[in-house]
Amino acid sequence: MSDVRETIRQYILATYLPGESAEHLLDDTPLRTSGILDSLATLGLVSFVEKEFGIELEAHETGIDTFDRIEDIAALVDRKRG
């Protein structure tokens, strides 16, 4: 789980927050509602998660409730990987 979180964190930092410290991107930092990720960036993250973790996400799984925080996304990945 912590590996998943770290992988997602590093991707977001490298792709959308270059130069930002990892300390400022916490597991519970809102990604979409805070404006870190816009629509296209969210889609980019969805594609990354699918490819990186070998899962397929349904559209309804990418809403704010399940796809707005690193901890939520990591939990979703764990559930999908069974």
Partner: protein
């Protein structure tokens, strides 16, 4: 950046074809806002619509570089920019997305008709309140048994009144944002799809445009294009190709304008000498030449990138932004150089200008192109 021998030959053929087969009265067609179906068919017979499509789906299997060279040739050889705009809309919003995101069954079913001109494609993406902010669209798609039910209104749909196919975008749930948007292929005779209002434009008036209404429009599940919730991928692919390619024909128009202006500046005499001897006139023509020579490499680069199957989102935005700006400026310069005659409809330069203004708006406004470039720069 020189054209390859093959592209140069194709471009020369396109110029010749356009001069002979697309030499219809565009002044009258522009005034009556008439789309020339016969000219469309001739373009299809010439092979334009099938160039980027593999032979197994009815295309010619040529690369984008070759097609862009042909588009420039068509822009140089015909005055009907509206027709070329319709060809572009069809290619980039229907043919390419179906080729790249369609299932084998979808490709087999629709690509041959899109290539040989039997089918005309239209793009149903923009909405009355979702233009540049396209992902805020309100058109809904609800899965119900063996179909999706579409409800909503689409705006600025090029080719709508003559289209057989619509690539339409709708959201499964507005709360999902971009990840809720899904693409569909909707056939013209699908109950619930109506052309609610024909739209009248400043330019490109020979290319039809309308508002399209989806009212409980049932689209079979197997007409979904791409994955559920991944319509943005389809849309972005479509826009990447379109932004990088749609102004190739405008290069041809700019080249024709330049030649006409040079000829006019040499022949037209005022105060006892050709007007081209005045620096104020010559400088405008110089600027027109510089614009063409700086625009063409940007367009050529898109062809090279896509022919290597590489991403070109940034490069396409740069090309779209710069070429459209140059196109508008050169079209205005041409009118100014011809003076009162340039302002007259018969000279056909004022129509070029009206047509050019749209280039800063369609396929994403210049402001949106700047946003894309800024994003790529990490801003």
């Amino acid at each position: 950046m020189e054209l390859s021998e093959e592209s140069r030959r194709l471009q020369e053929s396109a110029v010749e074809f356009a001069r002979q087969a697309l030499a219809h009265d565009v002044v009258a067609a522009d005034a009556s806002e008439t789309f020339n179906v016969a000219a469309w068919r001739r373009c299809a017979d010439f092979g334009v619509l099938g160039m980027p499509v593999p032979k197994e789906y009815g295309g010619l299997g040529l690369g984008l570089s070759a097609l862009l060279a042909v588009m420039e040739g068509l822009g140089y050889g015909t005055r009907d920019q509206g027709l070329l705009f319709s060809l572009n809309a069809h290619l980039w919003t229907n043919t390419i997305p179906i080729l790249r995101y369609g299932t084998e069954a979808q490709r087999t079913r629709w690509l041959p008709g899109l290539c040989d001109g039997r089918l005309i494609g239209a793009n149903a993406a923009s909405e009355p309140d979702a233009g540049s902010d396209i992902f805020s669209m309100r058109t809904r798609a609800v899965k119900d048994g063996g179909s999706y039910v579409l409800n909503g209104t689409k705006m600025f749909v090029t080719n709508a009144t003559v289209a057989d196919l619509f690539v339409a975008y709708a959201t499964l749930d507005p709360a999902l944002g971009a990840t809720g948007i899904t693409a569909f292929i909707v056939e013209r005779d699908t109950p619930g799809l109506t052309i609610s209002r024909k739209l009248h434009k400043m330019g490109l008036r020979t290319s039809p445009m309308a508002e399209v209404l989806f009212d409980d429009c049932r689209v079979p599940l197997d007409h979904r294009l791409g994955r559920e919730g991944r319509g943005v991928e389809v849309f972005e692919c479509s826009m990447e190709w379109e932004r990088g390619s749609i102004l190739a024909s405008c290069l041809g128009v700019m080249r024709r304008q330049l030649e006409e202006c040079i000829r006019h500046a040499k022949q037209r005499k005022q105060f006892g000498r050709p007007i081209g001897k005045n620096q104020s006139v010559a400088n405008r023509i110089v600027d027109m030449k510089v614009r063409i020579d700086t625009c063409r490499p940007l367009v050529t680069r898109i062809g090279e990138l896509k022919d290597r199957d590489q991403p070109a989102m940034l490069e396409a935005a740069i090309a779209k932004l710069y070429v459209s700006d140059c196109f508008i400026k050169s079209s205005l310069d041409a009118v100014q150089i011809f003076g009162g005659y340039g302002y007259m409809t018969e000279q056909q330069l004022e129509r070029d200008l009206r047509d050019a203004v749209g280039s800063g708006l369609y396929s994403g406004t210049s402001e949106i192109q700047r946003n894309i470039i800024a994003r790529a720069l990490g801003l």
